[in-house]
């Protein structure tokens, strides 16, 4: 994965700044345009969103399809894809369970971060004229917007994201199962969740989707507190979903917790990648460019 652009270029997608913006549309637009602006100045031109509609010239291609403007700008030969080559149905699955509402030291909760990410991805998808849908879930599907590409559809999606509220306990396997039964054409599914549940069910569900021909990108969104467990004083830790309580001394349990988390991450990474599913772990204190780059790379591989 190539390194992102400089910090100066990516200042518009700093979560601390994004969180202070108004509407989700504004947030998403700021993130995407800032990201794209950074990409323009990046030496890695291959990741330009604009080029997502084109492919490199191959011997035998019809010369009338060469885009001379792009050639003038990039000194490379690209041909425009046919529409059907670019017509992808994207589904964003956003986990809205109670654990996603957790905010430790980061500027945004995981739900806010995931919502902005989902909105940003929807923006990108819309620019590429991909049909984009949204499914929110906790232990069941709480919101569903079928995939669409019309202008008003994006607005409705962004509005839905802005109004998202945290739900109850999470059960990721169920929406995956329902989605796999509903999908009829080639799709890209982006799962945004903290995945802090039994991994077996999640992995099984994702594999099943993959086996149906669906491309998958999994974003595991975690708060810095969950990633580093910075607590110092003994406390009663209460689970925000199950209300389970545990009196523990952080000094005594930190090492083992981080080991458990690393094990969970490793399992997701190993099993999902092994199934051809992209897996990206995100820190809600970090800029969203990493997530967007990961999306673009995955999108690129599917051309």
């Amino acid at each position: 994965m190539p390194a992102p652009a400089t910090a100066r270029d990516l200042r518009f997608i700093d979560p601390a700044i994004i969180s202070r913006l108004g509407t989700m549309e504004l947030k998403a637009r700021t993130v995407v345009e800032g990201f794209l602006a950074g990409l323009h100045r990046s030496p890695y031109k291959g990741f330009s969103v604009e080029f997502a509609e084109y492919r490199q010239y191959l011997p035998g291609d019809d010369l009338s399809t060469l885009d001379w403007k792009i050639y003038a700008r990039s000194d490379r030969h690209y041909v425009k894809k046919f529409e059907e080559e670019t017509n992808l149905e994207c589904h964003v699955l956003l986990d809205v369970s109670a654990s996603m509402a957790y905010r430790g030291t980061a500027p945004m909760s995981k739900l806010e971060y995931g919502s902005v990410l989902a909105a940003s991805l929807a923006f990108l998808m819309h620019r590429q004229r991909d049909a984009t849908g949204l499914i929110a879930f906790d232990e069941r599907i709480t919101f569903r917007l079928p995939a669409g590409a019309r202008g008003g559809h994006l607005h409705a999606l962004l509005l839905a994201l802005e109004r998202m509220q945290p739900g109850k306990q999470s059960d990721t396997a169920r929406p995956l199962r329902q989605l796999s039964e509903a999908l009829t054409k080639r799709s890209l599914v982006v799962l945004i969740s903290d995945l802090l549940e039994d991994p077996a069910g999640v992995i099984k569900g994702l594999r099943h989707l993959k086996s149906r021909g669906t491309d998958l990108i999994v974003f595991q969104v975690l708060d810095p507190n969950e990633l580093t467990f910075p607590f110092k004083e003994p406390a009663k830790f209460r689970d925000v979903e199950s209300a389970e309580e545990l009196l523990a001394d952080p000094a005594a349990v930190r090492t083992a917790y981080l080991r458990e988390l690393a094990g969970l991450t490793l399992r997701y990474d190993r099993e999902l990648r092994g199934a051809g599913i992209d897996y990206v772990q995100l820190d809600t204190a970090q800029p969203l460019d990493f997530a967007l780059l990961a999306y673009l790379a995955a999108r690129q591989r599917r051309k």
Binding site: D223, F231, F237, V240, E244, A251, E260
Partner: protein
């Protein structure tokens, strides 16, 4: 271990604070919402147990530091020297109260055990005590000490603790010693004297024998015209009865039944006209009590009553009170009173005068040279002389008569106060017991101011001037009373103490005159066995009886006994408190307490630091 400032130990109660915090703190853990509690729950718990261990170690370190701080401020020290003292003294009571059946064997066993408990290298001495304290085994091995009491038997003496402690302090020689006393701790053991001051290094351990609940005793025996009367004392809680028997020169001559209520005294008269000469023995049976007081011996010779010659002034009246006081004592304890004037004294030959046990000189006016020489010769030959100052007694005549250099007696016209004995243990004052306070009721308006170097002062007036003095004069004894006994310079004859004072002073003068024939075991003449019986001493027959005070079985507890022992705090020795400070300053245990406290605090900081987690 002792403490100079024991009140600081109360500071140790501050350990309640960390303990309370330790117990309460656990309940106030803050609540933190978290998302991955299931991952926490899978964490191993050994670190949590380690945390609890850390908390306990912190609590222990803090409590220890607080206790050590209080301990150090209390200034601890070890009062006894490290290890056992070099000397162990075992003292066994062999007074006749220890002679009850099986009692003395029990005492010997306790004494042997006490000797056997000596530490390695510790010397053991054995003392047997009654009226006197005798060293049976000087400091040496415990085996020798144990063997020393093998042949020991209960004696006839009374219990006196004073001589024992004097002997103990002699042996200890101001060093440290362990004293083990095997005794029944009779109360009468302190009746003659105040408990002594004990050197601080002497550690007293009491091995007390069980109380004897009852005892019958013959306290006295006398004869009347047709009977022999013995006074029987019942010290038990139940009435006692039996048969009183009288024998003369070993032959039983009569008997009579008796019944004595509990805690009472009864005169038992045995109808028997005792002869004029011989040795009469009165006896009862008391198999469970003290054997030695079940009999009493009486010399039937008429001369057991001392003859007292009272020399008054020419008017013959100055001896009135003295004569009446002496005549108030009847029976064989009484006196034969011969009242004379200074004029008629001259009519007595030296032989006749020699038959007197005591001469009470109340006037020197008109005493001719012959009489003065006779008195001087009488005293030097063993007679007793009691002189009472008065307007009729001239100190210069006394000095000339007796040849006393430097003696003078000036009349002091100012009130001298009241009479106060110097030593209540003196034979004159010992019989008073608690009644000695009555001596202070008489007021002395005029007295002699005596210049009497070389005299023993037996009593003083409260202005400090000598009131009663004595000295040996040849074989005899002289007592000088610095005020009169005829109520001219004082109101003493009107005081209830006058009669016993006069009687005991005269009796003492008579006893010291070496003409006495009736003794107690404690004051038996030298050369006479310390046992009841009839003996020959100085060419005459004497009887020795046991001290009736020893017949009272009442005992004190070991705690009571120990409390009576005063630590030595005389001017010439270091006060007890200062001695404690000296010992503490040598040991400086408080420094070790503070050092250990610092170590506890260092441990607390090490355990509490984050790296330990």
């Amino acid at each position: 271990m002792s403490f100079l400032s024991p009140l600081f130990l109360a500071g140790g109660l501050a350990i309640a604070i960390p303990i309370a915090l330790h117990l309460l703190r656990r309940d106030v853990a803050p609540e933190i919402p978290f998302t991955a509690v299931r991952l926490l729950r899978r964490s191993p718990l050994e670190q949590t147990r380690r945390r609890r261990l850390r908390d306990l170690l912190l609590l222990l370190a803090r409590v220890t530091a607080l206790l050590l701080l209080a301990f150090a401020f209390a200034r601890p020290y070890f009062a006894a020297a490290a290890g056992a003292p070099a000397l162990r003294i075992v003292a066994i009571d062999r007074s006749f109260s220890m002679g009850a059946p099986g009692r003395f064997e029990q005492a010997k066993t306790l004494a042997r055990d006490a000797a056997g408990e000596a530490a390695a290298g510790q010397q053991v001495a054995m003392i047997a005590f009654d009226d006197r304290a005798t060293i049976l085994a000087p400091p040496g091995g415990s085996g020798e000490a144990r063997r020393a009491i093998d042949a020991l038997e209960a004696g006839s003496g009374g219990t006196r603790f004073g001589p024992l402690f004097a002997r103990v302090q002699e042996l200890a020689a101001n060093g440290a010693a362990q004293l083990v006393i095997v005794s029944d701790l009779q109360r009468s053991g302190w009746s003659d004297e105040a408990p002594p001051a004990i050197a601080p290094g002497i550690d007293v351990d009491i091995r007390q024998l069980p109380d004897i609940k009852s005892n019958l005793a013959i306290r006295s025996v006398r004869r009347s015209d047709e009977a022999v009367v013995m006074t029987v004392v019942n010290a038990g809680n139940a009435a006692a009865s039996g048969t009183a028997r009288v024998s003369v020169d070993g032959q039983e001559r009569g008997s009579a039944p008796f019944n004595v209520p509990p805690g009472s005294t009864t005169d038992v008269a045995v109808r028997y006209p005792a002869p004029e000469r011989g040795v009469l023995t009165a006896a009862i049976d008391d198999p469970a009590g003290f054997p030695a007081d079940n009999s009493r011996v009486l010399l039937l010779d008429a001369s057991t009553r001392p003859r007292v010659t009272i020399v008054s002034g020419a008017d013959g009246e100055s001896g009135f009170y003295v004569a009446r006081a002496l005549q108030s004592v009847d029976g064989d304890d009484g006196f034969e009173v011969d009242e004379r004037t200074v004029t008629s004294l001259g009519a007595l030959s030296n032989e006749q005068l020699a038959r007197s046990g005591v001469v009470v000189l109340l006037s020197t006016r008109g005493l001719d040279r012959k009489s003065r020489d006779a008195i001087a010769a009488y005293v030097r030959a063993g007679g007793g002389l009691l002189v009472a100052a008065s307007p009729d007694v001239e100190a210069s005549v006394l000095a000339t008569t007796m040849g006393w250099q430097g003696f003078s007696g000036a009349v002091q016209a100012e009130p001298a106060g009241v009479l106060a004995p110097v030593d209540l243990r003196h034979p004159i004052f010992r019989p008073f017991g608690a009644l000695a306070v009555n001596l202070g009721d008489g007021h002395f308006e005029r007295t002699w101011t005596l210049r009497a170097e070389g005299w023993d002062v037996l009593a003083r007036f409260t202005n400090g001037a000598p009131a009663l003095v004595e000295k040996r004069e040849g074989k005899g004894q002289v007592l000088l009373f610095a005020s009169d006994l005829s109520r001219r310079w004082n109101d003493f004859p009107l005081n209830p103490a006058f009669v016993p004072f006069t009687v005991e002073t005269v009796r003492h003068a008579a006893a010291s005159s070496d003409r006495r024939r009736d003794y107690l075991v404690a004051d038996a003449p030298q050369g006479v066995a310390a046992r009841a019986g009839v003996y020959e001493a100085a060419g005459r027959r004497i009887v020795v009886n046991v001290d009736p005070r020893e017949s009272a079985p009442a005992a004190m507890s070991a705690t009571e006994f120990t409390k009576l022992l005063r630590p030595a705090d005389a001017v010439t020795s270091v006060p007890l408190e200062m001695r404690a400070q000296q010992v503490e300053s040598r040991q400086n245990l408080w420094r070790y307490g503070l050092l250990l406290m610092m170590l506890a605090l260092i441990a607390e900081s090490l355990v509490g630091r984050p790296a330990w987690r």
